[in-house]
C-alpha cells in the first residue's frame, strides 16, 4: 500500500476520515526515524514531511510555532541564529535504531523526546504550549495556544505528548524556547563506579549551580555547566572546590559529547536496548542487577534517573526482574518485545481515552503506549 504524504492539514484530515470509514489502520511515520515495528503489516504509513515550515517565531516572547513535519535541525538552526534553543534537547534516534529519515518536531513531541538537560529544564512536554492535531475520526482539533501561561480548558496537548500518535496525528506544535547557554563546559570525573557517579550527581544537583547535564558512561561521570561567561566561571569554581579537580571539555568537544550521550551512540548497533526510569538512588543497584544477570552494558543520564541498558540477554522478563522491585519504568527501544502493562484502572482509563480519540482503532493499532 502506498504511503500517505499529505501536504496540508485538510488533506491529512480527509485521508484520516477515509481511513476511519474504511477501518484502514495507519502507521504514523512522521519523519521516519523510528522503526515502529509493532503494528499489523497492512497498516498504511503516514509521512508528515509535507507538513513543514515554521509558522511563527518571536524571540522576544520565547515562542515558536511550527508545522509538525518541520525538521528539528531546521528549527535548531533558526533558533541558534537568535541565540536561543529547544531547552529539552530532543534525542535523535537514528544512531540507536539504525534508521534514516529526518527527525521532525512533531515526532519529538509525539514521543516526548527529552535529552540530558531534562534534569534542569524539564521534558519536551514542559515546553509544549499548544497543538493542532487530527483525531482518529479525521477531525481537526486544537488545544492550548501559543502563550506560556494558559489554563483554559483541559490540556489535550500534554496528553498527546508521548502518546506516539495513538490519540491523534499532530499537525502543528507551539513551543516555549529558551536562551541558549553562551558557555557550556563539561567536567569529566574518571574512574567512577555507577554508585560513585550517582553520589556525585545527587550532591551536585543539590547545589544552586544549575547542573545542565549529569551522565555516566564507561567509568566516567560527566557534569555539564552552562550559563553566561560570568555564571560558568562562578559555577566551575564552586563545583571544583566541592567535588575536586576534573578533566575539562569545552566548546565543540563538550557539545559533541552531550550530543552523543543524548543519542546513546555508545549503544548503536543491534540487539535489545532499553531505557529505564528509576530514582537516582536506585540506579546503581539496578545497573548491577542487570549486569550480573544478563551481562548487559549500562550507561546513566539525568543524574541517574535514566538508565540505558544494551545486551542480548535483556528480555522483558529479565529487565522487569531488575526494575520491578524498585518501581522503575522500562521501555524497549530496540530488539525486544515490551512487557504487557498491568490491567488496572490506569490502563483502563488510557484504553477509554484511546477509544474516544480514535473510535475505529486505526491510529498505530497494536502500539503499546501505557
Amino acid at each position: 500500500m502506498t504511503a500517505l504524504a499529505p501536504t496540508t492539514e485538510a488533506e491529512l484530515a480527509e485521508a484520516v476520515r477515509a481511513a476511519h470509514a474504511a477501518r484502514t489502520p495507519l502507521r504514523i511515520a512522521g519523519g521516519g526515524t523510528r522503526s515502529l515495528a509493532t503494528e499489523g503489516g497492512n497498516a498504511r504509513a503516514v509521512g508528515l514531511a509535507g507538513l513543514a515550515g515554521v509558522r511563527l517565531y518571536e524571540p522576544g516572547a520565547l515562542t515558536l510555532v511550527a508545522a509538525a513535519g518541520t525538521p528539528v535541525a531546521e528549527i535548531e538552526a533558526l533558533l541558534a541564529a537568535e541565540g536561543q534553543a529547544l531547552a529539552f534537547e530532543p534525542m535523535d534516534h537514528r544512531a540507536a535504531l539504525g534508521t534514516t529519515g529526518a527527525p521532525t518536531i512533531g515526532g519529538a513531541v509525539a514521543t516526548n523526546a527529552s535529552g540530558p538537560r531534562r534534569v534542569l529544564a524539564g521534558a519536551c512536554r514542559d515546553h509544549l504550549l499548544g497543538v493542532r492535531f487530527v483525531d482518529g475520526r479525521g477531525q481537526v482539533l486544537k488545544s492550548g495556544g501559543r502563550v506560556m501561561k494558559n489554563v483554559t480548558g483541559l490540556d489535550l496537548g500534554k496528553l498527546l505528548c508521548g502518546a506516539r500518535g495513538t490519540l491523534g496525528i499532530l499537525t502543528e506544535v507551539a513551543l516555549k524556547v529558551l536562551p541558549a547557554a553562551k558557555v557550556s563546559i563539561t567536567l569529566a570525573y574518571s574512574d567512577r563506579s555507577e554508585a560513585a557517579a550517582v553520589a556525585l550527581f545527587c550532591a551536585a544537583l543539590r547545589t544552586p549551580y544549575e547542573i545542565a547535564g549529569a551522565a555516566w558512561r564507561d567509568g566516567v561521570a560527566y557534569l555539564r555547566i552552562e550559563g553566561s561567561a560570568v555564571q560558568a566561571e562562578h559555577r566551575l569554581t564552586q563545583l571544583r572546590a566541592r567535588f575536586g579537580a576534573a578533566e575539562m571539555l569545552e566548546g565543540g568537544a563538550s557539545a559533541e559529547l552531550w550530543r552523543d550521550l543524548r543519542d546513546v551512540k555508545h549503544f548503536a548497533g543491534t540487539g535489545p536496548l532499553w531505557r529505564i526510569g528509576v530514582r537516582p538512588t536506585d540506579a546503581a543497584g539496578v545497573a548491577a542487577a542487570l549486569r550480573e544477570r544478563t551481562g548487559a552494558r549500562v550507561s546513566l543520564d539525568w543524574g541517574g534517573a535514566l538508565l540505558w541498558a544494551a545486551g542480548d540477554g535483556l528480555t522483558a522478563a529479565a529487565v522487569q526482574g531488575a526494575v520491578g522491585p524498585v518501581g522503575g519504568r522500562a521501555t524497549a527501544v530496540r530488539g525486544a518485545e515490551p512487557a504487557a502493562p498491568a490491567a488496572d484502572r490506569r490502563t483502563a482509563l488510557i484504553a477509554g481515552l484511546r477509544a474516544r480519540f480514535d473510535p475505529a482503532g486505526i491510529l498505530n493499532p497494536g502500539l503499546v503506549v501505557d
Binding site: 522576544g60 534534569v119 501561561k149 489554563v151 489535550l156
Partner: protein, 482 residues
Amino acid sequence: MSTIAMPAPDAALLARKATIVRALTEALPGGTVISDPAETRVYECDALTAYRCPPLAVVLPRSTEEVAAALRVCHAHGVPVVPRGAGTSLAGGALPTADSVIIGVARMNAVLEADFDNRFVRVETGATNLSVTGAIADDGFFYAPDPSSQLACTIAGNIAMNSGGAHCLRYGVTANNLLGVRLVTIDGEIVELGGPLLEGPGIDLLAVLCGSEGQLGIVTEATLRIIPAPEGARPALIGFDSAEVAGECVAGIIRSGVLPVAIEYMDRTCLRVVEAYAHAGYPDCEALLIVEVEGSEPEIADELATVEAIARALDPVEFRLSTSAAESALIWKGRKSAFGAMGQINDYMCLDGTVPVSALPYTLRRIGEFSAEHGLGVANVFHAGDGNMHPLILFDANAPGDLERAEAFGADILRLCVEVGGCLTGEHGVGIEKRDLMGEQFGAADLEMQMQVKDVFDPGWLLNPAKVFPLATSAARREAAR
C-alpha cells in the same frame, strides 16, 4: 444581581438530603460530615464572593480512604461533588450547587516524605503552597510555583487550577513541577499516577489531570519536584512613560539571553494607589517594571548590567538597582500589596487573560478604550515576561448594575485576549467565571473532545458541576446523568 447562571438544583436530591447525609455519616468517622445549614453556609462561596450557594453537605476527610468512602456514597446516590482546597479560587472553581456535597481536603495537610537526593517531596494535598517550601527551606530547597494566595491556597487547588505565580517565567507552573498524584476516582477507586521518576509514561494522565479543575477526580497526595534555592536574588525597578516602550524593554531583555525569574508590570492607576498605600518610592509614570534576577553576587551584577544597558537605551524616567536587602524588600512591597491596596479604595474584579508578549502594548491601549466605553476604571498589574495580564476592573458592588457592567467589560477584555492570540485564563482557571466564554477560544469539536475526556473519568458528570464547560454545551450530558 449577577449574570452568571447556575443550573437549578435537582429537587429529588434536595428531598433526599437526610438519606444522603445519613449514608455519609455511616460511612465516615464522627466529626467528618457537616450538614447543619448554619455550618454549611461557611462553604457557600470561594474568593469569587459575588456568587454564593450553600451545599447540601460538607465532608472533611482525614485520609485518602475517607475521601474514597465519601465518593462511593455520592456516586451511589448520584450526588454531585464539589472538590475544595482552601476556597481561594477567583473563578468560582469551588462554588457549590445546592444539591452538591463538598469534599474538602483541608484536614489532610501532612508533608509525608522529603527526599533530597532524588529531589522530590510527597505531601497530602491539603497542605498549603507555602508550607511545602517551609518544610524544605532549611535543607536549601524550595517549591517553585508561588501564586499570590500561597499562604492560604492548597496544593490540591494548585493542581486543580495548574497555578502559576510571579516566578513561572523561569520555573514553570504547577504542571511543570508536579511528578505524581494519588487520585480518587468518582466511584471511589484509588489510583496512583506518576511518581518520583523523571521518565514519564506514554499517555500521561497526570498531564490532563493537572488544570482539570476538579472535573476528573480528587487528588489527595502529590509528589512535587523541588529545586535548590538560588544563592541570592535582586530586583531592578524601571519606569517608562509609555506602555509601548516598557513592552520593548521586556522583549529586549528576553532577547538578550537574560532570563529573569520575574518581570512584573504596573500601570499608572495601579502605581498611584500602591504608592499611597505602601510608600515604596515608586515613580509616577505610565509603566513600571520590576525585573528580578538570581544567582551569586557577580552573576547578579552581570545580568543586571545587561538589563540596565537595555533599559537606559530606551530612556526610562527612572532606573533603580536595589543595593541591599532592605531596598529589594521595598521594591517588592508595593507589587505584593497591589491587590490589597486596590481593594482598600475600590471593589474590583480581577481578570487573568494571557496575551503574546508582543501584543501587550496594543492590548493595554484597547483596555483603556473599553474602560471609557463602559465608564469603569481599570488598573493593570501583571506578569509581563509571560504576558499573563491581571486587569483590575474597578466598580461599586453596592451600585445597581455596576457588577453587570464590570462583567461585560471583563468579557470584552477576555475576547480581546483571544483575538490577539492569547487565552481566557493564564493561572486562575475557568471555573464559572469564564465558562460561557469558552466558545471564544475553542470550536465546538474542541470542546466536545475535552468533554469526552471527562466522560472517561466521570461518566455520570457528577464532579464539580457547571464549571469549565459552557452551561448550554454541557446541558445534555448533565441532564442525561440525572
